[in-house]
């Protein structure tokens, strides 16, 4: 009862926080894709770079999120920008790693066939390597998105807003209804995003490789 009342009375606020949550994760993921996929591709071309880039991305991944926020506050202050940067760095590793793995796993004979028929390097990337590693790259994007929707709740701690705000406030005020709304919505967002990306992946996967 209390829960329903809370939702009814704070509808606009809940919606605002949900949108904010989506913004923070959305911007960080899209930036991570825009930078991570090309980095992943570059890494397959310059194998000597592979270890150092993957190791660096690995380091970001191992820092606990709350510590990561703490580390950046002295430099960037609090607020959305800091949160987005941290979430971006988190999303980077699964995307780079999966792009790298996906492209590396394309059978050499496929690339040989493409080259032998007169494809340029870029055509091999566009027409052979990317279509065939799409499923693996998309899996990386899905992992990154789900992790980020969860981590973004913590970003409320440094004033980034989002659903985490409901959870933290709820804890401070002993309000279970607020905690529940924030937590359930965040979980729901993660599940929906995962399903949605799964659908996108299916749509993008060429028919012959399903």
């Amino acid at each position: 009862m209390q829960l329903l009342n809370y939702v009814q009375n704070n509808m606009s606020n809940i919606i605002r926080l949900t949108i904010e949550h989506l913004q923070i994760t959305g911007i960080s993921i899209i930036t991570a894709i825009a930078i991570g996929v090309p980095l992943g591709i570059i890494v397959t071309r310059y194998k000597r770079l592979a270890n150092s880039i993957l190791a660096t991305a690995n380091i970001f991944q191992t820092i606990p999120s709350i510590a990561f926020f703490g580390l950046l506050i002295p430099f960037l202050g609090i607020g959305k920008e800091t949160a987005i940067l941290v979430l971006f760095l988190y999303a980077l590793l699964p995307i780079i790693k999966n792009t790298y793995t996906g492209i590396n796993e394309v059978s050499p004979s496929m690339i040989d066939a493409g080259r032998g028929m007169g494809m340029t390097n870029f055509q091999i990337l566009r027409m052979v390597e990317l279509p065939q590693s799409l499923a693996v790259i998309m899996a990386g994007v899905r992992i990154a998105t789900v992790i980020n929707i969860g981590s973004a709740t913590i970003a409320a701690y440094i004033g980034a807003g989002g659903l985490g705000e409901l959870i933290f406030k709820g804890i401070q005020m002993y309000r279970n209804d607020m905690i529940l709304v924030g937590a359930v919505l965040a979980a729901l967002l993660a599940v929906i995003a995962d399903k949605l990306l799964g659908y996108v992946e299916l749509k993008l996967t060429p028919k012959g490789t399903k």
Binding site: S109, M117, G118, G208, T209
Partner: protein, 367 residues
Amino acid sequence: MISFKNVTKKYGDSVAVNNLTVDLESGETVVLIGPSGCGKTTTLRMINRLIEPTEGSIYVNETDISKINPVELRRNMGYVIQQIGLFPHMNIAQNVGLVPYLKDWDESKRKQRVEELLNFVGMSPSKFYHRYPNELSGGQQQRIGVARALAADPEIILMDEPFGALDPITRATLQDELLQMQDKLGKTIVFVTHDMDEALKLADKIAIMKDGEVLQFDSPENILRNPSNEFVEDFIGKDRLLKRPEYIKVKDIMIKEPVTIRPERTLTQALEKMRLHKVDSLMVVDESGNFIGIATSNDVLENFGNGGTVIEITRKEFNHVTEDANVNQVLSIMAQGQVGYVPVIDDDKRLLGLVTRSSLVNVLGKS
């Protein structure tokens, strides 16, 4: 024509292809064969510059290919590899039309060409156009692989063990289809295999390679008849020559000095000659060595009391062969005519020898 001029390919210290100089004639199917690591695939891949030679040059129609943009060069050569060479994410039409697409043909021309090629390899466009490679059998996939290589009508087609992954029956079918296709199109085909039977079946010329060198480059027939050294002989398999009667020539097995008789001799003389040489028939030959016919002991005995000459009982309607005929032809003449011997005659009607059942048994029996 594809010419290799002193081509060497080294990987570090190991030599993959050693000072190769060879000319591959236009319109011929040349099969490169040898044990693994002999350099046959390296040789093939140097033709479309997937591998660059360390030394030497390769010329296609007198143009040094190192002066041609590799992407352009490859678009003008067909390339077929084992069945995995089809792109699983592209449908059949996209796979077959790939090189035309890369060459920027407009869509209607591409579509027309794809349909033409699907018909050519015996796969109906209405059924297969929109299919994907994983919906096709291995044999169908490789037909598509061949169609794809033909797409831009290249003069040269490179095939790297294209039928290696197929079951023996499908492989044989595709080999037959390739032969038929080659009869119609007359492409220059360079074909790599490690299967000697495949090489003998498809090749106009075979290059047997070992340790980066061509040990023998010749027609299948000559390689079978005169292997240049022991390795080639072992590689062909010593029994293969004898297994294949079409490679045994009449001149190698015929009796060179058959028992002959002049047409004007008497039947008594004929009978005496048969008895002396222990034969049941005589070759009737005139004084200048021209073949007239055959006199058999039966005919001699039947007409013995009449006191005639050999010419009267000579059978002149007789199937004969030239010395370049092969054993298969002799066998079929014997089977058709129900005869035990076939005379060997040159273009001037001169008798050169005789093939009898027992001389055939001697040769074929060795295997």
